[in-house]
């Protein structure tokens, strides 16, 4: 099963390597990983999307907690949470497909952020399934390039305790 794990880490040199190295050395997979500073500049938040059965996920979390530079690990999947990912998609822009592209972008509430004679760049935000869906629709038209950020996620509301 897919799990989205939020990991608060020391904002230090080498921490990303420790976390990603842990996944590779223990044979866990990473579907996506994104990192950014939090309101406390000494702390970074990593959002890791991984897959595995309950026993593997339990090990992933325990092994992450073993790292000295890891401050807090939360499996958001256990909770009510929101997840977003952004993607930039460069597609062919010939006159035939123009209206179709614009329609798809509209339906997905995306934006065209660059327009050149031969291509568009589209920006779309959503959960991973939404991103996968728009990519699927644009594929027949001709995707030249994509760049995905990987998920960022947060639990809803105010945590009890």
């Amino acid at each position: 099963m897919k799990h989205t794990i939020s990991v608060m880490v020391e904002n230090k040199f080498g921490v990303l390597a420790r976390v990603s190295g842990l996944f590779s050395s223990r044979g866990f997979n990473i579907e996506s990983l994104s990192v950014g500073e939090t309101t406390d500049s000494t702390v970074s938040r990593m959002t890791i999307v991984t897959r595995g059965d309950d026993q593997i996920i339990e090990q992933v979390i325990k092994q992450l907690r073993r790292l000295i530079d890891v401050i807090k690990v939360t499996d958001l999947t256990e909770d009510n949470f929101v997840e977003r990912e952004m993607v930039l998609i460069k597609v062919n822009s010939d006159s035939k497909s123009k209206s179709e592209v614009l329609e798809i972008v509209n339906v997905f509430r995306g934006k065209i952020i660059d327009l050149s004679p031969r291509s568009y760049i589209i920006e779309v935000t959503g959960d991973s399934e939404k991103i996968d869906a728009i990519l699927g629709l644009l594929k027949p038209i001709g995707i030249k390039e994509i760049a995905r950020t990987g998920s960022v996620a947060m639990s809803r509301g105010v945590k009890k305790g």
Binding site: V9, G21, K62, Q63, R65, I71
Partner: protein, 561 residues
Amino acid sequence: MKKCNGAEIFIESILKEGVEYIFGLPGAVLCELYDKLYDSPVKFILTRHEQAAAHAADGYARASGKVGVCLVTSGPGATNIVTGVATAFMDSIPMVAFTGQVPTNMIGDDAFQEADIVGVTRTITKHNYLVNDVAELSKVIRESFYIASTGRPGPVVVDLPKDVMSAMTEFKYPSKVEIRGYNPNIHGHPGQIDRVLKEIANSKKPLLYAGGGVILSGASKELLELAEIAEIPVVNTLMGLGGFPGTHKLFIGMLGMHGPFCANMATNHADLIIAVGARFDDRVTGRVDKFAPEAKIVHIDIDPSTISKNIKVDIPIVGDAREVLKELNKKLREIEKELPDRKKWLEEINEWHSTHPLSYSKTNGLLKPQFVIEKLYEHTKGKAIICTDVGQHQMWSAQFYKFEEPRSFLSSGGLGTMGFGLPASIGAKLAQPQKTVINITGDGSFQMNLQELATAVQNELPIKIAILNNCSYGMVRQWQSLFYKGRYYATDLHGNPDFVKLAESFGAVGMRVTKEGEVDDTIKQALNMPKTVVIDFRIDRDEKVYPMVPAGSPLKDMIID
């Protein structure tokens, strides 16, 4: 406040940590530090290879319970300790390994003798540091000793760039360590302890499965109390040997691949297994889905990640073994009178023991390794520190030497590092100079770090090295014999040197034993000699380690002989 340079801060800091010995080998980038060591009270033990410096620091830590320290240079010096660090990591040994590094402005330039040792050791250390700024140095050293020795212990690597050693700053040693991501849980959950209490009271066939964590946390006394109060028999892991007295009537031996029949049968038939400071390693469990099929499993360990990693645990207790057992014993005493009688269970175990005791046959007239170990045991009354390497001799030592005290069996259990024994004996002898230290080794293992004879001789360490010489990589040969139709390949060591002459060339004493009748006198003579002694025991080449559970088989499927 007076300003000091990095090298002076290093020395002040390790003195604050109570460091007595450093094991190591010098090199260009740390010359400033060695110059400051010249005037310091720290004793530096110069090894002949950096790997040995790491193993010696590890042996020192295992024998003393203190943090072992090694200090090596950058590049090849640093990469040479990798096996030693990994060995300490797998066995949870507190160690701080300092490595030299090229100056900070050259890091990443592929400078002479540069290696990214922090990157290399990331997954084989509990934590590691690159010190970029001299202002951080004392804090990093304070933290590294703290991390190495608390919680589940382990090695920490600290990389010291050359310019940091000569940079100046004010020296202030932090009085406290605060690391927000590191707070080991020491005390077990009282509710969980109560659940264990109930299980013990209801169990007809309980078994204590005690590992290296008992020794690391100093819980031997508490383990003995628990076993005696509740009359629970005890099996040890390889790392746990010595954590429970080997001659005690409740001790039934080591479990796992080469455990005696009764220990594995007891594991197989137990209805309650209480694991203390052990991690259900594959050499212990055999086939996991057939491990202890009838037992509820309690697991006491300080590292939550070991719980339910290999075997699903029914009652986990995260905490320090000693603290948890103390609590458990206190509560057990209150219900001592209500605890069931274990007579039937102990009889059953005794029955297994008497039908299939650990044994070997002496009929072919060749010198038997088990006999040598029995004699070493007799002559030292089980009070020596035995350091081993890895292979058949290691298993025979575990089976036939009865360890009475914690920290008396030093062996690379997790990583299985051949070449560990001799340097570890050097560290052990310095840690416990009043004790007899014997390195039981094989001819293969001995040759992986034999250069350390020079270190032992130079420091006048009367270590005894007993080579059980079968002229082969015996354990692999045993597998080839049992599972590969005797197609022996890459296991023959007929190019071996003459170990007696080799010892003599180092200034040690060399002895040779080829017959059973010579064993007693030679051991006696060697033990009474205040010198480094190498004894070349020419043993039966075809002797095997039995019982044996083939890798991946259930424990009950032992090959007996």
